[in-house]
């Protein structure tokens, strides 16, 4: 999808107007951001916003997230195990210490 984020009052207002006018191309609306469908029309709408408001409009392309393809098993398993931990107050770093689960630091340094 195309993620459009606005950074000024004028750009935010235009985004709102555009979302109302082209509801069929909008996947989701947030306060000052919206997700548009990945169609040429979605791109057209995003580029119009950028043409009008320049650097106050950020456009990014999102990708579907498949954790079974993009994420190592250890990270997935760590997430599940941590959410099932016995003591709510245990921080993850402590939880992972001395286990096969990756440390927060290791994960931070590894790009998906």
């Amino acid at each position: 999808m195309l993620l459009v984020i606005t950074y000024s009052q004028a750009a935010r207002q235009t985004l709102r107007n555009v979302c109302t006018t082209h509801e069929e191309s909008v996947v989701r609306r947030f306060g000052r951001a919206a997700l548009f469908e990945t169609t040429e029309f979605g791109a057209f709408v995003a580029l119009r916003l950028r043409a009008k408001h320049g650097a106050d409009v950020q456009v990014e392309r999102t990708r579907p997230f498949n954790e079974f393809r993009a994420v190592p098993d250890a990270v997935r398993e760590a997430a599940t195990a941590y959410e099932e931990r016995q003591h709510e107050s245990t921080p993850y770093a402590k939880f992972a210490a001395g286990t096969e689960y990756p440390s927060p630091e290791t994960m931070r340094q590894s790009e998906l």
Partner: protein, 275 residues
């Protein structure tokens, strides 16, 4: 106040220009000190004058904002003022840099396209060399072509990588510039909210005085249930705002609500130019 139209002069707080053929806009320009057919020497108009500087029969009035300005003219302040000034100052100090990525994106797209083309060409030439070798035909010429294409491909690859790295670095700069933009938007919203809250507060402070003034003015209008709103005729509302405000500069009356300029001065408690 002193008003001059051509060689005719008018003095005092109540000036009647009904015999002159001048427009409200011309008188207002004079009040604001602009050159034109009407010259006015008077006190400098304040903020409230933006709302009630001219009152005409079809006046429309953002009542709450006008009333808030009237309150300010009376020296009232709002509890939001300090925070408001602070937010406005911080906002004025923000100057988000603009980093344009379009050129870098274009370069990434172009170098990627060139690389793909060359890669295909190398694959084709490799196929041809292979075929010639298998059939025992001479392949030296094609091999030279392949070597050249391979060299070009390697250059294109280097260029594409450089373009991508340059874009990545610029994106990092944009990210921090966007933090400034985000902060600017937050402050703009904050200033807007504080201004609205201050206007509401100030309009509330004058609510009773405004209701009394509305009742005392010619025309039909009453104060609305929420402070700073009015039900009925907005020209009457404008007159009432002029009445509750402390006005040093004259109100230009382009409506026939009072018998004469003197009566208007008394009822509005402000200098008046009547058209």
């Amino acid at each position: 106040m002193n008003v001059r139209v051509e060689d005719r002069e008018y003095d005092g707080p109540a000036v009647d220009l009904t015999t002159e053929s001048v427009t409200a806009a011309e008188v207002l320009a004079g009040v604001r000190g602009a050159d034109g057919p009407v010259t006015v020497s008077c006190s400098k108009p304040g903020r409230v004058h933006d709302y009630v500087g001219v009152v005409r029969e079809d006046s429309t009035l953002p009542t709450r904002a006008a009333l808030a300005a009237a309150a300010r003219s009376r020296g009232l302040s709002a509890p939001q003022d300090r925070q408001l000034t602070e937010a406005e100052e911080r906002l004025a100090a923000l100057d988000p840099p603009t980093v344009d990525l379009a050129e870098r994106r274009t370069r990434v797209a172009a170098t990627t396209g060139a690389e793909t083309e060359l890669r295909e060409r190398v694959a084709t030439l490799q196929g041809r060399v292979q075929a010639r070798r298998e059939t025992g035909a001479k392949s030296a010429e094609v091999e030279a072509e392949l070597a050249e294409a391979t060299r070009e491909l390697s250059e294109a690859e280097t260029e594409r990588i450089a373009a991508e790295q340059s874009l990545a670095r610029a994106r990092a700069r944009v990210r921090s510039a966007r933090n400034v933009r985000r902060e600017r938007l937050r402050l703009q919203d904050r200033v807007g909210n504080l201004r609205r809250a201050a206007r509401r507060h100030l309009a509330e402070r004058l609510h009773d005085a405004f209701a009394d003034a509305l009742a005392a003015m010619p025309g039909r209008a009453t104060a609305g249930s929420t402070p700073g709103t009015v039900e009925g005729d907005e020209t009457t509302a404008a007159l009432a705002v002029a009445r509750v405000a402390t006005l040093e500069a004259p109100v230009v009356l382009d409506c026939r609500r009072f018998d004469d300029a003197d009566e208007a001065v008394t009822r509005l408690d402000a200098p008046v130019v009547r058209l």
